[in-house]
Assembly symmetry: C2
Homo-oligomer: 343 residues x 2
Amino acid sequence: MANEREVTIYDIAKKLNISATTVSRGLQDHPSISKKTKKKIFDLADEIGYRINHFARNLRNQKTNTIGIIVPRLNSYFMSSVIAGIENVANDHGYGLLISQSSESFGKEISSAKTMFDSRVDGLLTSLAFDTADLKHFEHFFKKNIPVIFFDRVMEHENSTSILIDNRQAAYNATNHLIEQGCKKIVHITAPILQNVYKDRLKGYKEALSQHKIKFREEYVIVTDLSQEAGAEAAQAILKMKPVPDGIFVSNDSCAVGCMLALKQNGISIPEDIAFVGFNNDPISKVIEPNLTTINYSGYEMGQTAARHLINHFNGTSPINCTNTIVLRSELIIRSSSLKKGK
Amino acid sequence: MANEREVTIYDIAKKLNISATTVSRGLQDHPSISKKTKKKIFDLADEIGYRINHFARNLRNQKTNTIGIIVPRLNSYFMSSVIAGIENVANDHGYGLLISQSSESFGKEISSAKTMFDSRVDGLLTSLAFDTADLKHFEHFFKKNIPVIFFDRVMEHENSTSILIDNRQAAYNATNHLIEQGCKKIVHITAPILQNVYKDRLKGYKEALSQHKIKFREEYVIVTDLSQEAGAEAAQAILKMKPVPDGIFVSNDSCAVGCMLALKQNGISIPEDIAFVGFNNDPISKVIEPNLTTINYSGYEMGQTAARHLINHFNGTSPINCTNTIVLRSELIIRSSSLKKGK
DNA sequence: TTGTAGGCGTTATCAT
DNA sequence: ATGATAACGCCTACAA
């Protein structure tokens, strides 16, 4: 059962009566090796099942060919789409992925960052946890010029690039849409406003209100963890508000859905009594009745963009710094949950 | 901007006037190093920011501390839960994850397997693509005694363990339930019956039918890719069947939902005209109206189980072979989509 | 076009 | 309890 020794370039060299150097070069398609020799090398390598030892190579090259990823959660539609997008690009360029989740905890994010650093990932793609307060845990990376790219939930830093959508604008559009439908008492369900996405959405929400001379009311902002269950709880709070609100803008579809289901159970009609707009265009938004108006933006694309940007950076194409913020497109998708007057 | 050299155990050794060997041992908490020396080593390591070089260690130890994962898709609720479960266990035991997706293609699965092999993962966790026909692409692993564990979509092999649920029983229960509700013309929407999960579910479906003396009809089995869109297409086919079926058992919730939505648009009432049972207990099943009866089993748990099993194997606890099939629990969750007579 | 030699950082073996 | 040495497999500066 003893594992046989691995085939190395030396084995190839010996059998071919050439040096390991030549084999190494041949395998890398080095220009100064003759076609004939290369062919012999590749053929034999194939035949005897040679495979490169990445550790030896990485040890020598001081490079891991690995991209680190830290996300708040793995199992949401949005995040798994992002990962799929990253995987797609990374794979094409010969990079592996080291993935970990912070479970929305600052502490776990810090320890994940440490693991990533110790694993010497070549670059890091991160979306911040709810309660991440600063970027100290990434200082190691910045100091060593290891590129860090933030996506979706970002924080500005002079040494990193951010990839996101215009959350303020999206929230403005969402809220504005509700107002146009005749809503005057609009609740905003969101997450702790530490993160840019929630801060900016709140800003957009307020902006739309003020532009229509609707007074902003602190008690209309409900802070939750945006889970479906939290949506149901928020519904209870909303039912107790007097007067009952006539529109709700939620920072995430599954929370919106949880809220809608609970309200419906309590005899509220949507959109007649209360209109709804969500965020993310999760598939669930097309299943809930009435279908949920929402903000659409592609996680897959965001993942691809992040990965591509990072890899371009490795190749010296795109610099990573604060001036480099990439804003992806988002759009309001209007469905019946927000259409007050007829369909 | 030149990167400073990395801190190595030699740097620590030099500053402490001891040998690198001692440092190496100290760092690994080797019993034969004095507490005093260990403390000095750890303190200095901390101070000057030493971090182990995994490549050097792996090169030396011939071990990667990495678990490879190949899944058909990353962005489904079930799969992302599995990954989350794996990550949870792997992380606790100091293992990294190398993840790739086959996109339901045999070809891509083969090339992913090659990548994994070349990356020298210590073990492999895999769920097979729709059209995977054999396990030749894993032979390399078997030959080198690298453990391969299949989960959910598995194929039997004398050198590997399978982790799954009793799909036959689950499908039997689902179909039986529909029959008990009075259904006599039951359609089964599923994926190509190459994979065990679909083969077994078909078996269970047939078994329930025959036990109730209901004749199996080939044309009642609709083979799709189980996407939501495919569900909508299946609905069109179903509407054309004469007589129209009165029950449908779908191999996956999102496909069931797509089908339900399309049928509802065509004036079919669920469950009165057609009752529905899905599979997977995707969150979407609690959103669709009527709520979808489904088979529940935990992806997170399946992921944890797979990872734990693999890691136990590394530690010499659990052998990996064909006699070792782990069957996880699954259950029928009855919701209104299948309840013909009142609720 | 090909070869020689040394080193990347770690750990196991064999001393002391 | 600690140290010297070799080896893991690869790559590249330098030499031929």
